[in-house]
Amino acid sequence: MWVLLGIVVIVVGFMLRFNPLLVIMASAAVTGIAAGFDLHAIISAFGKAFNDARYVSIVWIVLPVIGMLEAFGLQERARGLISSLKGATIGRLLAGYLLLRQATAALGLTSIAGHPQTVRPLVAPMAEAAAEKQAGTLTDEEREEVKAYSAATDNVGLFFGEDIFLAIGSILLMKGLLEQYGIILEPFELSIWAIPTAIAAFIIHGFRLWRLDRRLARKTAAAAHSGDSA
């Protein structure tokens, strides 16, 4: 039971807003000591896993390209394009991106989009421009909300698209685990059951995007109305 202390450290540490890196280290130390490992073993286990997980940090090599393109006005161009499109609303834009992200992830193309590659340079500025067009001006809170929705839409699209693909990590994990219990399944038999949830994710998140869309559009209508009566 004592090994659960590490989880307590994580939860309390995050809640008290200590630096997450320190919280993680403290949790690893507490968990390891509770399980009876010495410090050398804990540090080695952590170091080995850190080295094995380096591929996670490869994505940062896109930053020089993004930095270069932003210096040449990529975000401004993305905003300009959306402002010039008739009928571009934040709801339609993000719902379209959601569908595209789900569809490409379902084909196994999970790394072609993402927060550094597409959300920061393209999706978020486009969403902001569409929202500005709808609402006239955005408050700081609304601007934050639009950006947060852009990132959230990427996550929802990725998570509830990728499992439809046969060879994605989670499907292979399930197949391997079930084999240990003597149940042999083809990846296809597993991945097909990701489809109902994918549809539900599109409907639920799409509905929220539609409501965001309506809320921002109503703001212009309200502003125009109060302008008339003044």
């Binding site: 890196l21 968990t31 994505v59 059951w193």
Partner: protein, 313 residues
């Protein structure tokens, strides 16, 4: 053969450049901290396989010490003035999208194409390899067409990297914590606790405990992959599959997706939830998580219902 090692060399070079640019920038009072932090990341990328497990562990401790005790600072903002960017945006127009799309297009083409050449490319890593190639191709086109100053991509990349800061290493750190948890047997203990909490003889109770357990344990671990074997061993296999004769494919596939709902709701899934908040320069680091909760909870309910109605026909 082109393997992931080449990509690590490239990534190490990028981190080393970020370190050097910081070292040379006197406008950052903590420039040595920044330089040491990204320099250590470069060492990890270049030489991680030769450092040994304990050596890598010490490298991690150094990273944590620098970041955890306020060693990272920011340089004076050297962002390009808005007017210059507007003028350039007008001059280069939609061609800028063309360069931006080189990266996903190369990743797409490479993923499909490189698999046909197993002697030239490590087929298990084609996506990351083609992502790296897309970056190099986009840089080449950028230099040729935009005539960008030679150091501009790296100096601007450094600015973006410093704005993300130590959060950039969180995903790797959390993955490592997961490994320590696994070694200590945290999963088995949690599984045992959950098993005792299920009401006896209730299929609905067991399905709800399975779905909620996947989401909650994923929130703690920041990763559905870590939660999945635990919940399958504690509830999925003994109760849902063996006792109630449920369809294992449906229980596993949708159970994993219930876990993904948990991923949407936790700061522990740093690469999806905290990193974008830093990248988009949001004031509230938890803004993305908060936005996702209202999608995740109804979707979790849908997943639990899907398991209940589909797996036990």
């Amino acid at each position: 053969m082109i393997t992931l090692t080449w990509v690590y060399v490239l990534a190490g070079t990028a981190f080393a450049a970020f370190a050097l640019f910081n070292l040379n920038d006197k406008s950052n009072a903590r420039r040595f901290g920044n330089a040491a932090f990204w320099g250590l990341m470069a060492v990890s990328m270049w030489a991680g396989n030769w450092l040994g497990d304990f050596g890598n562990g010490l490298l991690v401790l150094a990273l944590v010490a620098i970041a955890g005790f306020g060693g990272l600072g920011k340089a004076k903002d050297d962002a390009i003035p808005e007017a210059t960017k507007q003028e350039r945006a007008a001059r280069y127009g939609n061609g800028l999208f063309g360069i931006a799309l080189i990266i996903p297009a190369t990743a797409l083409a490479g993923t499909l194409l490189f698999k046909e050449f197993p002697t030239l490319f490590d087929v298990k890593q084609v996506t990351l390899i083609s992502l790296a190639m897309g970056v190099l191709l986009a840089l080449t086109v950028g230099y040729a067409w935009l005539r960008a100053a030679p150091t501009l991509p790296l100096s601007q990349g450094r600015r973006l990297m410093d704005s993300v800061g130590w959060a950039a290493t969180l995903p790797q750190m959390l993955a490592s914590l997961g490994a320590v948890f696994a070694l200590a047997g945290v999963g088995d203990v949690v599984g045992g606790v959950i098993q005792q909490a299920i009401p006896d003889g209730s299929l609905a109770g067991a399905v709800i405990a399975f779905g909620l357990g996947m989401a909650l344990f994923t929130m703690i671990m920041g990763n559905a992959f870590a939660a999945f074997p635990v919940m399958i061993a504690a509830i999925g296999m003994p109760l849902l599959i063996k006792q109630y004769d449920g369809d294992p494919a449906i229980i596993c596939a949708i159970g994993m997706l219930a876990g993904f709902c948990g991923t949407l709701m936790t700061p522990m899934a740093a690469n999806f939830n905290l990193v974008p908040a830093a990248l988009l320069e949001l004031k509230d680091e938890n803004a993305v998580v908060k936005t996702q909760v209202a999608t995740a909870i109804p979707l979790l309910i849908v997943n639990i219902a899907l398991i209940y109605f589909l797996a036990f026909r």
